[in-house]
Symmetry: C2
Subunit: 321 residues, 2 copies
């Protein structure tokens, strides 16, 4: 059976999965990312895991490897200045991994682009030409599909909606700028907004008992579900800003669908409903009532590994055509 | 010689040009748009102009027709609810024109997308994969090229950056929304901003002698060139907002170049310099010092006709591949 390996590189751990062409993931193995100060040693470990699995499954034929990693550049095959990884500078990741698998197509992109590729190949994006995936985790990641292909841009870094500008001079972002979308819309942003709302109101809320460093977007979601008015205000505010920027997205690439993924997306309609209302309000009339905002089709799966392997399957298809 | 016809439909007049594969325009003919209340009669006129030229140039072989028109839909071949045209509803333009030329590829898109296609085939976009064209006229139009192809989006209406949101609740836009980019960045917007600046300042300016309905962006540009401080403030303000939204564009499709076109772009560095400074300020660090903002390569030509004919050449190439 033909199979690809999908490698999801996180700041702490790396997950390696083996995925067939239909998007079924057979095995997932985890190894440490932080343990390896040198990327060469890390890749020795990764390849030994891959080789062990191939040996244990003699009917598998490995056809390609896809990698999802922070600050990854599809065009160059590099990981560049990733703040959460130990390997600094420009790491020629695909070239180094290719030393172990010189015959195979190897491709890399950032996590959110990989999620979009997973959606395209295995999720709700199957058969769609123009859509976007928004991941709401610590930050806001995004992958944009145009005409059935992921958009990489001239430099390989396209699809960074988390750093579009909501409010010039607004909240300080991890990137050093102020007022980026991800400081208003992400799991972290939900907490920031919640404290702002607590400050500006006198209404009671059980969230007043949780310290800043302990609160998560899940706390706010649970409070909302128990009727907390201020928590509702927080999700409404978050959804409203998301919707406004999705209206901007429509003006750029006019997608038919936007799929939400990640921790803060689990709130489902609590964020989708205000986002949809606000998007429609800010949309140019010709775009209204055309764009569906939905949860990702891969919400309960390891979308990162599926996305990384989808990237490999996409390269294989390109070679075949 | 193989040739295509490019038809640029404006609210008042229509220009028809005959363009070879290298982008040389041989003849341009103009006819009224407003004179024809029925699109069928209009198309009879257009086809008679085309046929007369073909008869006068027996060595021409017409291979395709491209059309640039307001509210045109590439996917459907329609013009839909164009505010400045007499033909209301959804006009199946390509189908109707095809009755005269059943053998030929005929394609339509909006003016700014046609300008981007012209830039791609005949202008500074030749050989580029990812760029955008921004037209600064009465409104702000845009065409986005990704991976060497124009972005149409799922519904055929992509590339409407003029209606991205700068300020929620801001200036009233012709589309009915408030705070759209084109109310802050366009030839019309320059005048709006100029009056706002005149109101807020006590400094003298010769622009205080021109009534609102008479002032054009050219008046502001000339005043600036003569040292008018408030006119400089106006172009700086306009460029700053343009730059901020170009930083957002980079987060979407990461273009290598942005080409400016149209009346307000003629100011050149007066708008490009502040736009560039502001774009760099608002860009995510990975995108900095990579994107060139320049005047269109077709500034002194009939870009609308070249763009429309480029659209036809693009369809012909697709058929050949």
């Amino acid at each position: 059976m033909k199979i690809t390996a999908g490698i999801d590189i996180g700041g702490t751990n790396t997950v390696i999965g083996f995925v067939n062409k239909e998007g079924k993931c057979f095995v997932e193995k985890t190894t440490s990312t932080t343990e390896f100060k040198e990327v060469e040693k890390y890749l020795e470990k990764v390849s030994s895991i891959i080789n062990d699995e191939l040996a244990a499954n003699p009917d598998w034929e490995l056809c390609g490897i896809g990698v999802g990693a922070p600050n990854a550049n599809f065009h160059k095959g590099t990981i560049e200045e990733a703040p959460n990884l130990l390997w600094k500078g420009k790491v020629p990741f695909c070239e180094l991994l290719g030393k172990f698998y010189p015959e195979l197509p190897i491709a890399i992109t950032n996590d959110a682009n990989a999620a979009a590729m997973g959606e395209l190949k295995f999720g709700k994006g199957k058969g769609l030409k123009d859509f976007a995936v928004i991941t709401l985790g610590t930050g806001l990641g995004s992958g944009i599909v145009v005409n059935g292909d992921l958009v990489y841009g001239h430099d390989g870094f396209a699809g960074e909606l988390g750093h579009t500008i909501v409010k010039p001079g607004g909240r300080l972002c991890g990137c050093g700028k102020k007022g980026c979308l991800e400081t208003y819309v992400s799991a972290t942003a939900v907490v920031r907004s919640m404290f702002e709302i607590l400050c500006n109101s006198n209404k009671p809320s059980r969230l007043r008992d949780i310290p800043y460093n302990k609160m998560t977007s899940l706390d706010v979601e649970l409070a909302l579900k128990e009727g907390d008015e201020l928590a509702k205000e927080c999700y409404d505010y978050t959804g409203k800003i998301l919707g406004m920027k999705l209206a901007d997205l429509a003006c750029h690439t006019s997608p038919s669908h936007v799929f939400l993924f990640g921790g803060a997306a689990k709130a489902g309609d609590l964020i989708i409903k205000p986002a949809k209302e606000s998007m429609e309000e800010f949309l140019l009339p010709i775009f209204r009532n055309k764009i569906s905002i939905e949860l990702s089709g891969l919400m309960n799966e390891n979308a990162a590994v599926l996305g990384a392997s989808a990237l490999a399957w996409n390269e294989i298809e390109k070679q075949e055509n």
